[in-house]
Amino acid sequence: MAEAIALEMEQDPSVFVLGEDIGKYGGIFGSTQGLIDKFGQERVLDTPISETAFIGAAIGAAAEGMRPIAELMFVDFFGVCMDQIYNHMAKIPYMSGGNVRLPMVLMTAVGGGYNDAAQHSQTLYATFGHMPGMKVVAPSTPYDLKGMMISAIRDDNPVLFMFHKSLQGLGWMEQLDVAVDHVPEESYTVPLDKAKVVREGSDVTIVGIQMMTHYAVEAAEKLSKEDGIEAEVIDLRSVAPIDKKTILSSIKKTRRLVVVDEDYLSYGMTAEVAAIAAEEALYDLEAPVRRIAVPDVPIPYSRPLEDFVIPGPEKIYQQVKKLMDEE
C-alpha cells in the first residue's frame, strides 16, 4: 500500500498524505511506511488528534485541486469526524452540481479478531456503503490493495479505502499466508467497482469480503474435500458501488447463496446482497439465502466471546453444509 502511494506521489506533486502517526511511525498499520523518508514532512503530515480538522482540511485541499490521502487510524473512530465524511466529502460534489471535485482518498483500518474490543474491531462496511457519494472499497489481497489504492488516488471522486489490519502482513499480528503475496513492483490499477470470483464452483455461491473471503475459500476447500460440494467464492471488493452483475451471474449458475460478513448482521452487507438476490434472482434461487455475520452485538473483548461472534471458516463450512443438506 505504501508502495502504491509512493508511486503516485512520485508522479503527481499534488498527492500528499496526512493523518495521525503516519510520519515517523509509518502508520500504525504500516500504510505509510517509509514515505516520510522519501517525501519529507512537507508531503507526509503528522496531525494532532483532530480528525474533524484534518479530514475537513483534506476536503478543503481537494476542492482546491490537491489530491490528499487522509488516514483515519481505525474506522471505529469515524464518529468524531463523520460529519466531514458524510455531509461534506460525500455530498459536496453532488450539491455543487459536479462543479467541485474532491479527488481524495480516506484510508482506514478495519477488522477484528485480535481482541481489541468494541471500539477498535469493527469493519462498518455497511455504515459507509449506505451513504451515497463515496466509493467504498475493501480489498483483500496484497495485489488488489496496491492496484486499488492506485486507482483510488487517480479517481476524481472521494474514495473510502478500507484495509484490513490482519491483511497488512504486520509482524505483530497473526501471520497469514494470503497477506504476504508477491506483488509486481511497477504501477498497475485494479478497478474500484468490480467483485471477483476467487474460486469457481457450481453448487453454491459464497459472497465474502476481505477477511471473510479468505475464510470462505478455506471453507470451500473443506467442503470440496470432505463433502464434494463445490462452492463458488466471490470477493466483493467494492462495497459501493456494489457489483450486482458478478453476484447475479454466479447465483444463476449455482442457485444458492450464502453471504459472509465481518460487519454487523442487521442492515449490513449480507442484507444488501440477499436483497439483490430477492429482487433480481428470486426465480434462480433453489434454497433460502443464508446470512453469516456478527450477530447484533458490539465486538466483545474476551477471546472465546470474540471468536463466537466473528465468523470463521468453520462456521461458514457448517452453515453451507447445513444449507446443502436441507434439500
Binding site: A53, G60, A61, H88, N99, V100
Partner: protein, 337 residues
Amino acid sequence: MTTFEEKQPAVSVEKLKWMYEQMVKSRYYEDQMVDVYTEGKVPVFNIGAGTVPGEMHLSTGQEPAAVGICVHLTKEDTVTAPHRPHHHAIAKGVDLKKMTAEIFGKETGLGKGKGGHMHLFDPEVKFSCGGIVAAGIPHAVGAALTSKMKGKDWVAVAFIGEGAANAGAFHESLNLAALWNLPLIVVVEDNSYGISVAKKDSTAIESNDLRAAAYGVAGAYVKDNDPIAMYKAAEEAVARARSGQGPTIIEIETYRFLGHFQGDPELYRDKAEVPGLRQLDPILKLRKRLTESEKVSEAEIEEMEKRAKQEVDEAYQFARDSNYPEPEAALNDVFQS
C-alpha cells in the same frame, strides 16, 4: 472586490465606496428575498412550497463583517461561509445570477438546483458554504494548507456565527492552523443569538477573540458592527496571513435584524430589540460617512445604489426565467467519470 495593496494609514474612499455598494447590494438582495420567499406560501405558511422553498437564513444587518474583510481579498483567496451566506457570497463576488437561480432551484444555478440556499459553491471565486455549523472552518484550513504547500500568498477566511465557536471543529481547526502556521482567518459574527439561544447562554466567555490565547494566534474584536473598524482589523489579519505569520480570530459585534430563519416567531427576544438595532443600521452610517466626511456626492451614491439594485434585479429575473431541471437529473453528479 479589490486586489490586495500595501497597508495604508487610512481607508481610501474607493474602498469605502466598494464596501458601501456591496452592502447595498446585499441588503437589497435580501429585501427582495423576504418577499420572494413568501410567494406561493399563502394561505398557510408552508416551508416546502412557493417560489423559494426550504429554510431561508438572511443576513440583513450583518453586512459589515463580509465587506470589511472581502475588500482585502482576490479571487484566489478562499471563503467558506455557514448557513447564512448571502452577504459573504456577494462580497466575495459569487456570480449573482447563478446564485439566485440556485436558490430558486433552477438548472442554471451554481449547483444545477441540487444545493440550494445553504449550499452555494462557486469555485471560480473559491466560495463555498454549508448547512452544518462550524463545518466550513476545516475546509478553510485545507485551502490555507494548499496555499502554503503551493508557496502562494493566498489566504482563507472562514465565516462563522458566535454559536459555532462552541463546536469542536472550531477548536481542532484553530489548533491545526496555528500549529502549521497557516494563512487562516476565522471571522466570528456575533449577532447575539444561535437561533434562540443568547450568546450568554452558549458561550462561557465574553468574546471569541479571547480564545486566540488558546492557540497562540492573534485576536481582534470589532465593536458596534462598524464596517470601517472591520476593514482595519481585517487588513491586519490579511497582511499577517499573507506574510506567513499565521492565523487570526476576529470577532465582530453585529446585528441580526430578522429572525433566525424566515418564519421564526422570535418569541425569545424582546419586541423592541430589532427596532433599536435598525436605528444603528450600518448602511445608513456608512452612507453618512461617505457623503459627509468623504464628500462623495449624493448623485454618485445614488448611481452606486442604482447599479447594485439593477444587478440584483437582473439576477432575480434570470432565476425566474430559468427552467427547473429535469427530474431525472437528480441521478447525475454523484460521481464524476
